[in-house]
Symmetry: C2
Subunit: 204 residues, 2 copies
């Protein structure tokens, strides 16, 4: 009972997710098939159904890990950032854009699921948690007097749209190549202007 080996090498569920992400990254979403996944891992084609009731369930779970990692990266990036709203905004933007470019296909998956009327509850919750994390940043800035006043949704929607749009465009290679690297500083400056207090106060 001690060295109890299952048929498979321990945790098929985790192995499926890992391998699925690899092939998603390497061959794109249309090339991802349950049967090939099973073949790659040396199990029968019916084995995955023990852990995911169907293909969509696996995709949902994969998207969920994406949101989890995005949250982590964001938190880590913010932990190392300074106190000012400008610095925290920049840290958040960098974290998002880095994640988006490094996981373009996964990001697509994370957001493409919403159209599904019967989308996973868990997944919607994860997406909203991520939105919240960004809006909290704005609230912080408001408390520091570095962001204009007003209901969080009204003030935050522009900022969130900008971040999401830039990350998405960067991920899908839809940005002019020269803008990518230095573009982030310009983007953050633009965001700051957009949500600056109505009557800017002096820094000291």
């Amino acid at each position: 009972m001690h060295t109890r080996r299952r048929y498979h090498h321990g945790d098929l569920r985790a192995a499926l997710l890992t391998r699925a992400e690899e092939t998603l990254r390497e061959k794109g979403p249309t090339a991802l098939s349950l049967r090939e996944l099973a073949r790659d891992l040396g199990v029968s084609h019916a084995a995955p159904s023990r852990h995911f009731k169907d293909k969509q369930a696996l995709l949902d779970a994969l998207a969920l890990t994406g949101f989890d990692r995005l949250d982590e990266r964001m938190s880590a990036s913010l932990k190392e950032a300074g106190e000012s709203f400008a610095e925290r905004m920049k840290a958040a933007a960098r974290a998002y854009v880095d994640f988006a470019t490094a996981n373009a296909e996964l990001l697509d998956l994370m957001y493409s699921i919403k159209h599904d009327p019967k989308a996973s509850e868990e997944l919607i919750a994860a997406s909203q948690r991520w939105t919240r994390q960004t809006l909290n940043l704005i609230a912080e800035g408001q408390r520091r007097g570095e962001v204009r006043e007003g209901p969080l949704e009204r003030v935050g929607i522009g900022v969130f749209s900008t971040l999401h749009g830039y990350a998405t465009l960067a991920a899908s290679d839809s940005l002019p190549p020269d803008v990518r690297a230095e573009g982030l500083d310009e983007l953050v400056a633009y965001i700051l202007r957009g949500c600056a207090p109505e009557k800017p106060r002096q820094t000291a």
Copy 2:
């Protein structure tokens, strides 16, 4: 020769695209199959291959019609708008968001193709044409002195990201429901602040 009827009812290619968009809208992208399309139109399952070399080619063509219609809507909306940058920006934003919410799945398709290394040249061109159209708006604003100076890419990237992000989020129902309708005005105001001239001059 005059009332020459083909096997099919005239233009299978166009019929395939029309029907494909319908099922994309109604049943989502994964439910779209060439064989079902052919069945719906009363032709054999091999008939589509005369007009599209494979499924991807049909999807590319469909995405292309999306960009064409987006361009049209945008142009029409701008034609009815006033002269000021603020009004033109608002018209553009409304056109984009309207299109995005009315054609959510199609918009997804239009942008999800980029990851493909061998993506259709035509499609990339259409996407860039659309980006250009938005950037032209910024250039116009610069000429009128209502947008800050600087290279178009630097100034325009934020605006374009904001528009694209908002439209995408709206399309995927990722926006808090209360923001959608009146949110557009707030969004445009945010954009205008972000690209206002460094030293705002008086209106008269």
